[in-house]
Subunit: 187 residues, 2 copies
């Protein structure tokens, strides 16, 4: 039931926005009472926090797996970009809430989410740093800005990527990583 | 006075969100009456539309200038990325509203904004296409996906770029365009 409440809420938050969706809207959409909601969540904010935590914890776990199981740093980079785009495909609505509704978390809750978001970013920075040491990437890179560029290209796909379009999530990741690794100028 | 209302509203919308800000909040922050507001805008939605139009029209005008005045396609690309990042620096609050609050425009208003957003993107696609024809960019590029990647890297900076940080908007654009043109792998 908890998962069902979360699912229904994600759909409503995406469509109407977090602030505009009431607990009454959520329970009405499921045909249950407010009591059911309050059995699992103390407030709408706690539910939003739960969605955020679920999203980032899932990403961090998959990122750990990528870093551990791939030997080349180029592969680790590709799998990371692919993870972000495929996650938007699988969890499109949750992704939109993750990017759009962070402003509705209070400071105490942000203090739990922001370090996790940063961890994902720092792991990419480390991956680039170690890839430079191994000679896979150029030595003179501004690692932190490049990381923001990679995250930007991948995360922005939540704005436009259509899972039913002509390209798959893997093909989009391939185009991006080829651009990031090889550049687009003619040689 | 119209500009002053717009300025104050942008600041309030950024802080509290569009839906959560009332016309009363706006006029209170300026020490004027609702009559003043309604002299210039028929509704809060019209004001939001005005902010969106102002933002995208300004970008399109600057983009036209870039395309006309630079001879190399690499320069046109650099200036476009720099435009997006510097615009976030100059118009940070308006940029956040432009990216976050589009969902609050009705269909009729979206029908005026979306083609302008698309125009900005298509101009980048054209720039890449012509750059390929001139031999500046590689021939086998997926132009539309690369364009989304470039827009993503640049636009995402509204989430993290700090105009008072160690790097200027121009330096960030230089790091991004070097990555986009040359790639990060060692050669």
């Amino acid at each position: 039931m908890k998962d069902k409440i979360t699912e229904h809420s994600i759909r409503l938050f995406e469509k109407k926005g977090f602030k505009e969706t009431s607990i009454q809207d959520i329970v009405d959409s499921m045909g249950v009472t407010k009591g059911t909601f309050y059995y699992y969540f103390s407030s709408k904010e706690e539910l939003l926090m739960d969605i955020h935590l679920g999203y980032i914890d899932n990403l961090l776990e998959k990122q750990r797996h990528i870093v551990e199981t791939n030997s080349s740093y180029k592969e680790k980079l590709f799998e990371t970009v692919f993870l972000l785009i495929s996650n938007i495909k699988v969890q499109g609505s949750a992704a939109k809430i993750f990017f759009r509704e962070m402003k509705n978390l209070n400071e105490k809750r942000l203090a739990l989410i922001v370090p996790k978001r940063n961890e994902f970013r720092f792991t990419i920075e480390n991956l680039l740093k170690e890839g430079i040491e191994k000679g896979e990437f150029r030595a003179n890179l501004n690692i932190s800005i490049i990381t923001f560029g990679i995250l930007g290209a991948a995360n922005w796909s939540y704005q436009w990527f259509n899972p039913n379009g002509t390209l798959t999530d893997r093909e989009v990741a391939e185009v991006f990583v080829e651009m990031i690794l090889e550049g687009i100028q003619s040689v």
